[in-house]
């Protein structure tokens, strides 16, 4: 490709730093932004600016929010007896998109990963315990990732919460619906058996 002008080159560099975007894609996106009406291209830069200026963590649950409290915490129709604990705001988004849960959330902003130097103090666990102490929750649903560190984080928190009169549950795991037992590996079958439930 011929020489880009300096400012176009800079845009390609910026786009290329985004996750999942290689050099070629960055060039295609930059070219696209040059061709669309100016207002459309500027609307993109404006929304990036607004997001960075206005979006912060909810003071209650650490979800992403435009004000001090996020839309979920501010919604009086949500079930305030259930609290679902996730690692990241994107996990909360996935659960919301599934549409099966009407309770509240708490975002840890990470997981306990001592080998990476991340201990419980670097997460929002203190806030979680405060919420549980002063709230009216009957069930805490641990929805950390089903990894060794995710499970460890859930176990740490459920130990902390064991002195409160509430139920701590965790997400089921195991066989994907629509697949067949024959092809599930041993570990997945073990998970499914451990998490079996009554009809």
């Amino acid at each position: 490709m011929a020489e880009w002008s300096h400012s176009v080159g800079e845009l390609v560099d910026q786009l290329g730093r985004l996750p999942g975007i290689g050099r070629k894609t960055a060039e295609r996106l930059a070219y696209h932004l040059l061709r669309v009406p100016q207002a459309e291209a500027l609307a993109l830069s404006e929304s990036i600016r607004r997001v960075r200026e206005n979006v912060r963590y909810c003071e209650t649950c650490f979800n992403l929010s435009e004000g001090p409290r996020c839309s979920i915490c501010a919604d009086p129709r949500r079930d305030a007896t259930r609290l679902c604990v996730v690692e990241q705001p994107r996990d909360l988004m996935s659960l919301e998109q599934a549409g099966a849960y009407r309770g509240l959330y708490h975002v840890l902003l990470g997981r306990i990963a001592p080998l990476d130097g991340i201990g419980p103090d670097q997460l929002t666990i203190d806030h979680l315990v405060d919420r549980v102490r002063s709230g009216s929750f009957r069930e805490i649903i641990m929805a950390t990732n089903p990894t060794v560190e995710g499970d460890g984080t859930s176990l740490y928190i459920s130990n902390l919460l064991s002195e409160y009169a509430l139920e701590v549950t965790r997400l089921a795991r195991g066989i994907t619906a629509g697949s067949v037992l024959e092809y599930a590996n041993r570990e997945i079958l073990a998970d499914a058996l451990n998490g079996r439930q009554k009809f």
Partner: protein
């Protein structure tokens, strides 16, 4: 370069991109490997969630030379480390095993015996074996297999015999037991009980590399934990990250990892 099949233990995973992981593996046949696993963060594909910390996998690796990451093309899960679902002390002990293996092994320097010891240790941690004895055996056998074992029979400084029985000096930086003549002139000396020397000897014996770990008397545990912590810290040039978490495997914390 041709691809190689080997058994491997996952010592660390690092998010590399939206879809890929860099994993540090201890392989049975080729020693430590840092490898790029493209697409490993997707649920489907050639890795299928196999590359979790402390998982044991059968992998296909394309080794690269120099500083280049090896390429991981396939990983089939054999066994997952599950202690984190029920006991924090056991989980943190597993993390410690991963850290020691990562710090102490090298690329292109295979130790199948150490690999087998690691797998047996993780299985014990995942079961009901006493965590403290299990870790001490793992540490001392790892030191022995990698050529870093402390001397127990002869003075680490002058090589003369050190009589059995009674308290004795252990030189953390000099590499083991010290005779009465060398002791006063040596820095970083820990005084240990005679029975501790016996236990160190049994933990270091070749026979103790497999099977149930040799018993560690409860009254000696604190002393052994302390001296091994210092010995390993000196060897690595600093304390392992998990060392401070090992308290979670001590009796001051109950089976669920709650502080008393």
């Amino acid at each position: 370069m041709a691809s190689e099949k080997t058994d491997a233990l996952v010592l660390r995973t690092i998010e590399f991109s939206e879809t890929s992981l860099v994993v540090v593996l201890l392989t049975r046949q080729f020693g430590k490997s840092s490898a790029l696993a493209k697409g490993a963060r997707r649920a489907k594909g050639p890795f299928e969630g196999a590359l979790d910390l402390l998982s044991i996998c059968r992998v296909v690796i394309i080794p690269k030379s120099g500083d280049t990451l090896d390429l991981l093309t396939e990983a089939k899960l054999q066994r997952r480390f599950r202690a984190g679902e029920r006991n924090l002390g056991r989980l943190y002990a597993g993390y410690y095993v991963a850290e020691l293996l990562r710090e102490m092994t090298d690329r292109g320097d295979p130790h199948p015996d150490l690999y087998d010891l690691a797998l047996e240790t993780l299985e014990e941690l995942d079961g009901e074996t006493d965590v403290r004895a299990c870790l001490l055996r793992f540490e001392l056998q790892t030191l022995r297999l990698l050529g870093h074992a402390p001397t127990i029979d002869r003075c680490a400084a002058c090589g003369s015999e050190v009589p059995e029985g009674g308290r004795f000096g252990f030189g953390v930086t000099s590499g083991g037991v010290l005779c009465a003549a060398c002791r006063p002139a040596t820095r970083q000396v820990v005084l240990l009980r005679g029975a501790t020397r016996e236990t160190l000897r049994s933990l270091l014996s070749e026979a103790a590399v497999s099977g149930p770990p040799p018993p560690v008397p409860a009254e000696l545990h604190g002393e052994l934990r302390g001296v091994i912590n210092r010995y390993i810290t000196n060897l690595l040039g600093g304390p392992p990250r998990m060392q401070s978490y090992l308290a979670a495997a001590s009796p001051t914390i109950d089976g669920q990892g709650r502080r008393r």
